[in-house]
Symmetry: C2
Subunit: 341 residues, 2 copies
DNA sequence: ATGAAAGCGCTAACAT
DNA sequence: ATGTTAGCGCTTTCAT
């Protein structure tokens, strides 16, 4: 790369490099004539300050690192869009990496972010690297945890109360007469699934219903796993009457597979989804779902990281959103064939 | 941030900073004992090389800039995923920015990428900044243009031959008896839309059909515009019998609005889409569409940029994909009510 | 094989 | 208001 440096500008403009630096940093103490002249030369030379050098000196990169499991997941996609909107306004950029929910990869990604000296990290982590993240915070690097509640009360965080959401869903299904309710989740080691499970379990136990491990299904947040899960469910001897899907992708898979297998929702199974699908008006039945609030999470995460950068010593902030249950047509009243005693 | 530097490592390990540098760069001329010792200290101190300093020195950042119109567009999303896969394998990261298809914003984004000294830029540009991009290439910064054919033969590029795709679509519709065919596109100033139009126009002209400007609709690549477009189309005195949609989002909008308005596809209008929708098996009619080949574009773009970085002087490479027409049920034979003369 | 020292492009403290 | 200079953390040449 043919490099133009502050030096080239200085000599062409007949001033010192300090003056050029002052001009590009908008320092007050430069006479208008010199300021104009320098800007003119900058334009002529198409000079662009080297942010590596600036960053090395000032320890500020105007870059925010985002670590998520998968860029192409629509959930994260809309979160990222909102984060970008917020931070781009104030001159920050996004360094984005997919961790694939793999602990080792995630750790490496965090390390890369530190090596690149990002000004902050927004991470949707599995939860397994929380100690490491905690040490990062101690180093003075802002970290915002999204999409799950951190164990330690040491992070800024933004998330939906998933335990509550799942409680609400289960409760609603119970009110519709369902007793055998299956919950389909992502990997067991991802902490948000623990939250989901706990909300579900609490609700069932409050209603005095014994948990049936067969109905508590861990897998992956993918369309393929949604399909697989439904396939397994219909093979059960003692089938559930309702299914709770933990992600939009799983929900898609369940709907696709149901159609494939000729299974009717809600006649054969009731379904409640965590998050609504695209083009929902074109697909029947309309889903009963809880909002996943992607945009809200993204916007809040963007704000939090900017606040934390501005004010490193401020109080921790945890934004917890409650998501409403939206009623559609994918749940049907269940009437037991054998009368309840 | 509490900084550990190469200096701290050097003093704790009792060697010079040059030696530490050799160790972290895997230079050959370090004795195994010293190498081990240094690595041990690096581990103890949790030292991470400052990539800003490395970059300043070596002019390599291991960062690729990606400039697209909108991260949350599913088309770009899958492209980015594939790019990331390719480049992450070899230790690169992605700096991603949404340009909103705005020429000024795009120019600013390019500038930011240069200031951050990315090792290369992958851009889906409006086409309006091509001269600027060209000067970037002259500076020695690799640029890959995706999703459209560059004007100048000066860039590596990856794109689908959209003129051909549109020609094929129009040709197919003609073969089904349609004569009044509307094409719904994104903004006029985006060059890929010019390609689309030219393929469409060539086909119509070859068939000796006069172009009707009312049927050539420019707008935005959004669901909302798809809805609007359909609304306008049904109000036309002399309606088209077939519609070509240029993007998945537009197609969604058209389908949603058709349902809303009680319009049947393909009975009232035939529809061909550039790109297939999600959950297509759940939505009827199944679409007749051309593949948009997102994954192929992304993977190729990732490879091209790595090649260009490795070999700056190599021959230009333009990968042009041809997309097949996939037949569904959204096109119906059109039989004119008044016999053709 | 190892170390000393210059320098990458910039900022900021200090001097004028 | 402007210039001189040290130094950010690293790589690399040149000595040894």
């Amino acid at each position: 790369m043919i490099k133009k440096t502050i030096k080239d500008v200085a000599s062409k403009a007949g001033v010192s490099i300090a003056t050029v630096s002052r001009v590009i940093n908008d320092a007050s103490n430069v006479t208008p004539e010199i300021r104009n002249k320098v800007w003119k030369v900058i334009g002529e030379l198409d000079f662009r300050p080297n942010q590596l050098a600036q960053g090395l000196k000032s320890d500020v990169t105007h870059t925010i690192g985002v670590i998520i499991s998968d860029i192409s997941n629509p959930f994260f996609m809309s979160i990222i869009r909102e984060i970008e909107k917020k931070i781009n306004e104030v001159g920050y950029n996004l360094l984005i990496v997919s961790s694939a929910d793999d602990q080792e990869k995630e750790r490496k990604d965090i390390k890369t972010m530190l090596e690149k000296r990002v000004d902050g990290i927004i991470i949707s982590s599995t939860g397994q690297n929380e100690d490491y993240l905690s040490s990062i915070v101690d180093l003075g690097v802002p970290v915002i945890i999204i999409d799950r509640k951190p164990f330690k009360n040491k992070f800024d965080a933004v998330y939906v109360d998933k335990a509550l959401a799942m409680y609400d869903i289960a409760n609603y299904l119970l009110s519709k007469g369902h007793r055998r309710i299956s919950i389909v989740m992502g990997p067991r080691y991802i902490m948000s699934n623990f939250d989901r499970f706990s909300g579900y379990a609490r609700c069932m136990q409050t209603a005095n219903i014994l948990l049936d491990n067969d109905l508590i299904i861990y897998g992956e947040f993918t369309e393929a796993f949604g399909q697989l899960a439904l396939n397994n469910i219909i093979k059960m001897a003692n089938r559930p009457t309702a299914i709770i899907s933990s992600s939009v992708q799983m929900t898609r898979g369940i709907l696709i597979e149901a159609k494939e297998l000729g299974i009717s929702i809600p006649d054969d199974f009731s379904l409640v989804s965590y998050g609504n699908i695209d083009m929902s008006t074109l697909i029947s039945p309309s889903l009963t779902y809880v909002e996943s609030l992607n945009e809200k999470i993204g916007a809040a995460a963007g704000e939090l990281i900017l606040n934390r950068i501005k004010n490193p010593k401020g109080n921790l902030e945890q934004k917890v959103f409650e998501s409403k249950l939206i009623l559609g047509d994918s749940v049907k009243e269940f009437v037991s064939k054998t009368p309840l005693k």
